[in-house]
């Protein structure tokens, strides 16, 4: 099977952003917002779940942000952005009607075709749920193609939970097993407390390790522990997919910033099977 790649339109200058407008805005948490972007021309930038776009705020700068919405909706994009620095702060502050430049989609997405006929185990930490939401929306739209689907999601605190409406909908679906945990609870929290990788032990009967595709995204430590838990149970390295984050200045495989060993994360990733990362996974500061 072919994994999705960001194929360039021939002849176009790949450095030039395409105009979009903010058409909707939903506050997720104190510092995080989901933007809905619409292309004035109506033709969008069709993407696969797991791919990312370069979002440009006029006069400020451009940053990589994963697509978090359902794919294949012509002319519409959704991106969930956390305000951490100059560009993301401005993105989060955008209002309906504001102009945004977009380049993309870039990189390889989640192996959703490969996962057909398999159990799917989604493990998300923090903002890592954004690219996985896109994958889950697509999986749920074609639910019969997959065997058991399990979602494990961890946030720092109840106030940091993203996509609350989605979470409550997913919670009610009989064909989806969802477990949510937080690192630190507040007085109203009645759910689980602890780290995400620890949830894997609880859902063992929801996946058959040798026939499971795992999709993992979150902070690097969380991903490291998750991989260990999955390996312990016999999920093969080439069926554990991780989405990596690196500094990115071009997303075109040209600026050199996103290198990880032989890989350019912007074009060979961001989603990669652990089997390709394993030779380098124990090397610090690679």
């Amino acid at each position: 099977m072919r994994e999705p790649t960001g194929a360039p339109p021939p002849g176009a200058n790949p450095y030039i952003p395409v105009p979009f407008r903010v058409s909707g805005r939903r506050r997720e948490t104190a510092d995080t917002v989901t933007l809905r972007l619409r292309s004035p021309s109506g033709d969008g930038l069709p993407f696969e779940p797991g791919q990312f776009m370069m979002l440009y705020v006029f006069g400020v700068g451009e940053v990589p942000v994963s697509a978090s919405g359902a794919p294949r909706r012509a002319g519409i994009l959704e991106h969930t952005v956390r305000a951490v620095g100059p560009v993301t702060r401005r993105l989060v502050a955008l209002r309906r009607g504001d102009w945004v430049g977009v380049r993309g989609p870039f990189g390889r997405g989640w192996p959703l075709a490969l996962a057909e006929g398999f159990d799917v185990l989604i493990v998300a930490g923090g903002l890592g749920l954004a690219p996985l939401r896109s994958a889950l929306l697509q999986i749920l739209a074609q639910r019969d193609r997959y065997r058991q689907v399990t979602v494990l999601y961890g946030a720092r605190s109840p106030a940091d939970l993203l996509y609350r409406l989605d979470l409550s909908r997913w919670q009610q679906r009989p064909d989806l097993e969802l477990r949510v945990t937080v690192d630190r609870a507040d007085e109203r929290w009645r759910g689980q407390i602890g780290v995400v990788p620890a949830l894997i032990a609880q859902v063992e009967r929801h996946f058959e390790p040798a026939r499971t595709v795992a999709l993992v995204c979150g902070p690097e430590v969380m991903m490291r522990f998750t991989v260990r838990e999955l390996q312990k149970r016999g999920v093969p390295d080439d069926l554990i997919y991780l989405s990596l984050e690196r500094n990115m200045k071009c997303a075109l495989g040209l600026c050199g910033h996103c290198q990880f060993g032989p890989a350019f994360i912007c074009k060979d990733g961001p989603v990669m099977p652990f089997s390709r990362l394993a030779p380098f996974s124990e090397i610090r500061e690679l």
């Binding site: 790649t5 960001g6 194929a7 360039p8 200058n13 790949p14 450095y15 030039i16 952003p17 105009p19 004035p40 006029f58 006069g59 400020v60 700068g61 451009e62 951490v84 102009w99 430049g101 902070p219 984050e245 690196r246 500094n247 200045k249 071009c250 075109l252 495989g253 040209l254 600026c255 050199g256 910033h257 290198q259 060993g261 032989p262 350019f264 074009k267 030779p279 380098f280 090397i283 610090r284 500061e285 690679l286």
Partner: protein, 377 residues
Amino acid sequence: MSELSVLDSRDLPELFAALQRHGFRVVGPTVRDGAIVYDELVSAADLPVGWSDEQEAAHYRLKRRDDDAVFAYAVGPHSWKRFLHPSSLTLWRARRTAAGVTIETPAEELPRLALFGVRSCDLHAIAVLDRVLLGGPFVDPYYAERRSRAFIVAVNCGHFSPSTCFCVSMGTGPKATFGFDLALTEVFEPGRHVFVVEVGTDEGAEVLRQVPHRAAEPWERAAADRVVETTAARMGRRLETAGLKEALYANLEHPRWDDVAQRCLTCGNCTMVCPTCFCFTVEDRTDLTGTVTERVRRLDVCFTTEFTYTAGKPLRQSARSRYRQWLTHKLGSWLDQFGVSGCVGCGRCITWCPVGIDITEEAAAIRSASELGERTR
């Protein structure tokens, strides 16, 4: 072998004139600030006639010769990426209007450049940049434009730098074998000073037609062959490339990386002088009114901590990890990424490292002690 011609050294200005008549702006070697650099040349008089150089690790010095040899120097601090992949370039300008934002690329017409005096290692370096910037999936349109418009006059190496050049072991020299429009070999013997000319393209032939020349005599062909043969035979420095990538990948935690990190100043000189180092960053600059902004691309240096700034901190904090990235990229991962080595053996990084770190020595140290490295992991 193609037809060889001979151009008398006195007619070199004619070659310049022919290139200029063809509409080329000639860029090439000239003496400035105590080094042979590449810059625009108004006439053949700007060439480093009668100059040579002396290079060693962390050492470069110009030397006067007592003849008027034109190409009796080895490569200097500049490389051709200066013209093909410039250190600073405006990618586009955006203007905020009532209707939204309009984005345009700079409209100025680029001059056609004739790169004059390109050594074989640098032809290979340009071929490396071609793979990186034109090989896809995305093509860099700025490089593509400059590259497709360039005319190349190569020079086979009669003079080289014994303590820094290692093109022979890299398979990149000293003879120019591809990628040129014209290639010159300077045959300099007492009483005779000529250039043996090989034509590489139709455009090269067209330029040569406008310059006084004649067919090469057998002795001249033999003399031209001898020039590169002598250089190849005398080149002592080498880098053993067989199995090098594997040895580097197997030794990413080798103690030698700590050793070199003690010496390395992380100044990035090596990346700036390297003819294949292509990494860049981008910067947005906005005018005071806030209505016009431009994105500028600048060549970047992997030795800075900002280079890997991710999720709030640099990923490569130690000097060890940054030197390791540079060397393993050049000599290892480049092969996986682009199918060629990122090093063409030009020796510039050895000469221009202020503390004389030598890429061939570091690579050899990692490789020779590779079993030790395995054990200490």
